[in-house]
């Protein structure tokens, strides 16, 4: 069943949804759109392509406390101060971000499940939003993701001609739609047609995007060594600065580091995102496994396109959102790597 509401009345919907639990939306602040809790007068930007940091940040935050130890003279006490937060709603998630949750689930929810991530995942209700105007940096199509309708959210939504269409998918989606049911009106045939037209338009635009037909076929388990030893990695990584931008904006990067912070009278152990681009990534007592930037650069893309798919029955660890294309200081990204080392069809494009 699908419902609809005028886009002008969306703030009422947000207010109602945010009444009992926090509601995260793409909100613009200082010219940048991020998922932030809704508040009266927040600049909600459903038209922005996607946020700087992906929705991953709500399930796998950049930093979160794990546990704290307090020392009294020579006695130690342990304090569980992890904050997995309360139930929250999440609207305006693009199909690519929604897909990234599945990729992260395979990592964090596999036995033994990451309790912090699992708690947040259960707390979250995801409402996806179709991409009205995909851009040239998007290549979700090349990874089999339908920008017009996401298969991963608890509910799907579209915006067309001043109407906001909302279709619950999962049970959790049904429940959250119920909470805002009074504002919604049921859709009829004409609305279904409008949504189909929107999907067709989006499909048309996706077709014209330059990287929609990116061929990743060569990135398969059996080619691993061949790709690994390819001499062109050196040339591709020559300009890489080793900063963490691509990994910190990427929705599917799942590596993290556990650090201890001396708070004066104890230790606060916390988890924070880590970047394989950093020189101290996976630094062990024996030393650093990947000593030069070429190896670190290769590790990032091999993991995304070869290692992860090998362990997850072919599912690439990239959702084609294009953030790394936009944000990399030296414009080196996964599309260039894919085109250089990817399938033959790329050559003639």
């Amino acid at each position: 069943m699908m419902y609809k509401i005028r886009t002008e009345r969306l703030p009422e919907l947000f207010a109602l949804a945010a009444a009992d639990k926090a509601l995260y939306l793409p909100v613009e602040q200082g010219g940048q759109v991020e998922f932030r809790p809704w508040s009266e007068g927040a600049a909600v930007r459903f038209d922005a392509l996607n946020t700087v940091r992906s929705a991953k940040d709500l399930f796998f935050p950049q930093t979160e406390n794990l546990v704290a130890f307090r020392t009294e003279g020579k006695k130690i006490s342990i304090i569980e101060n992890a904050d997995t937060g309360a139930p929250f709603g999440l609207m305006g998630v693009r199909s690519c971000d929604a897909k990234s949750f599945e990729i992260l689930d395979r990592v964090f929810l596999a036995e033994p499940a990451d309790t912090y991530y699992k708690a947040r995942r259960e707390n979250g209700t995801v409402v996806t939003l179709a991409c009205h105007e995909p851009e040239e940096t998007c290549f979700c199509a090349a990874l089999g993701i339908d920008a017009a309708e996401s298969a991963d959210g608890d509910a799907a939504s579209w915006i067309r001609d001043g109407w906001f269409y909302l279709k619950p998918v999962t049970a959790k989606g049904e429940a959250s739609v119920e909470t805002v049911r009074p504002l919604l009106t049921e859709c009829d045939g004409a609305d279904d047609a409008a949504v189909e037209a929107e999907k067709k338009d989006i499909g048309a635009v996706i077709g014209q995007l330059p990287f929609s037909k990116l061929d990743l076929s060569r990135f398969r388990g059996e080619n691993m060594l061949e790709i690994f030893n390819d001499p062109r990695w050196k040339e591709l990584s020559a300009a890489c600065l080793g900063c963490g931008t691509c990994t910190y904006v990427c929705p599917t990067c799942q590596c993290y580091d556990i650090k201890d912070f001396k708070t004066g009278d104890g230790i606060q152990r916390f988890r924070t995102w880590d970047s394989c681009m950093y020189s101290d990534f996976t630094k062990m007592s024996a030393g650093q496994p990947r000593l030069t930037q070429v190896e670190r650069f290769r590790q990032r893309f091999m993991h995304k396109l070869v290692y992860y798919p090998m362990n997850n029955d072919g599912l690439y660890s990239c959702v084609g959102c294009g953030r790394c294309l936009r944000k990399c200081p030296i414009s080196m990204n996964i599309v260039k790597v894919a085109k250089t080392l990817g399938g033959e069809q790329n050559d003639e494009q």
């Binding site: 700087v52 910190y248 950093y278």
Partner: protein, 326 residues
């Protein structure tokens, strides 16, 4: 801009041919027209291009390249040449392993400003005179070049090169300077402390600690940064508290104070578009006002203001406008 590219390519080919250089650092064409990647080219110079989007400052790459056998040809825009001199002053680049050509620049384009004007789905970009023509999935758009330049071009430090073995100058030089580079700094200084605190909290709270600003900055090129060094006790990898955000940016700006050439790279690469240049320029303005005009990298071998002193320096607490004058 096209004719300069042609002359550069011709001159580079000659230098390759007569063996003065064994490699060249320039910009390589990316997937889209607007994305350019700094790259090291061999004699064939495959994919080398020089156009309105080649904003990246190449001098930092010379730190490692000048350790490799053979001489490297580098192309330096006027604002990059200051960074080149500063790195030479700090003995980070081996001068006789580098052959520098100063190339003219009429202001570089900022793709984010283009996007901010609502241009989406860009398929191709062409520069025609003082306009940029964009063919997008949603129709073609024309944008005035002077509206979409990088921030630093609006207060360009001038067209004169301060370094280079030879120069390739454009016939027609377009002056893109429209504002005084300290205008925003002065506006901030005029605010009350609370307003400034709100402004900077708003800006710095967006920082995702990706270190792009640090890794791109020619002045911020330590072998091992204090923030990556657990042995020093100041290592921190994440902004797990508002304090870390403030400390990272205060210390980064302080460490480059007196050495920052104001090349604007940090603001260009920040994924969250935090106006980091306003921090560096605050130090530059204070130094200019309190200790005398100083442009880092103006010539090799300068003595930086923080490695110098005057017997009658102003006492701490002196600010540029409030009696800072000696």
């Amino acid at each position: 801009m096209q004719e300069i590219f042609g002359r550069i390519k011709k001159r580079a080919a000659e230098l390759f041919a007569d063996g003065t250089v064994t490699r060249m650092v320039g910009w390589q064409k990316g997937e889209s027209d607007y994305d350019k990647t700094p790259a090291v080219f061999g004699p064939d110079m495959k994919g080398f291009v020089y156009d309105g989007f080649c904003g990246a400052n190449l001098s930092k790459y010379l730190i490692n390249l000048s350790k490799v056998e053979g001489r490297t040809l580098v192309l330096l825009k006027p604002c990059d040449s200051y960074s080149f001199n500063q790195l030479l002053t700090e003995h980070r680049i081996d001068r006789d392993k580098v052959y520098a050509i100063g190339i003219d620049c009429n202001g570089k384009l900022d793709i984010n400003k283009i996007r901010a004007l609502g241009v989406k789905g860009i398929r191709s970009v062409a520069e025609e005179g003082d306009e940029v023509v964009l063919d997008t999935v949603y129709g073609s758009k024309r944008v005035k070049r002077s509206e979409v330049l990088l921030d630093r071009c609006y207060c360009c430090k001038g067209k004169d090169h301060v370094a280079g073995d030879e120069f390739i100058l454009a016939e027609k030089r377009v002056d893109t300077t429209t504002t005084d580079r300290f205008e925003l700094v002065k506006k901030l200084e005029a605010m009350t402390p609370d307003e400034r605190y709100e402004f900077w909290r708003g800006e710095l709270s967006r920082c995702i600690r990706c270190n792009a600003c640090r890794n791109v900055c020619p002045a911020c090129s330590c072998v091992k940064c204090v923030f990556d060094n657990p042995a020093l006790g100041t290592d921190s990898k994440a902004n797990s508290d508002t304090f870390e955000e403030n400390m990272f940016h205060i210390i980064r700006a302080f460490h480059v104070a007196g050495r920052c050439t104001d090349c604007g790279e940090c603001s260009r690469v920040c994924p969250q578009h935090i106006p980091l240049h306003l921090l560096n320029r605050k130090f530059i303005r204070d130094i200019d006002e309190l200790y005398g005009e100083y442009q880092a990298g103006a010539e090799v071998g300068q003595r930086g203001p923080l490695t110098d002193f005057a017997k009658n320096d102003a006492e701490p607490g002196a600010t540029p406008d409030k009696g800072g004058k000696k």
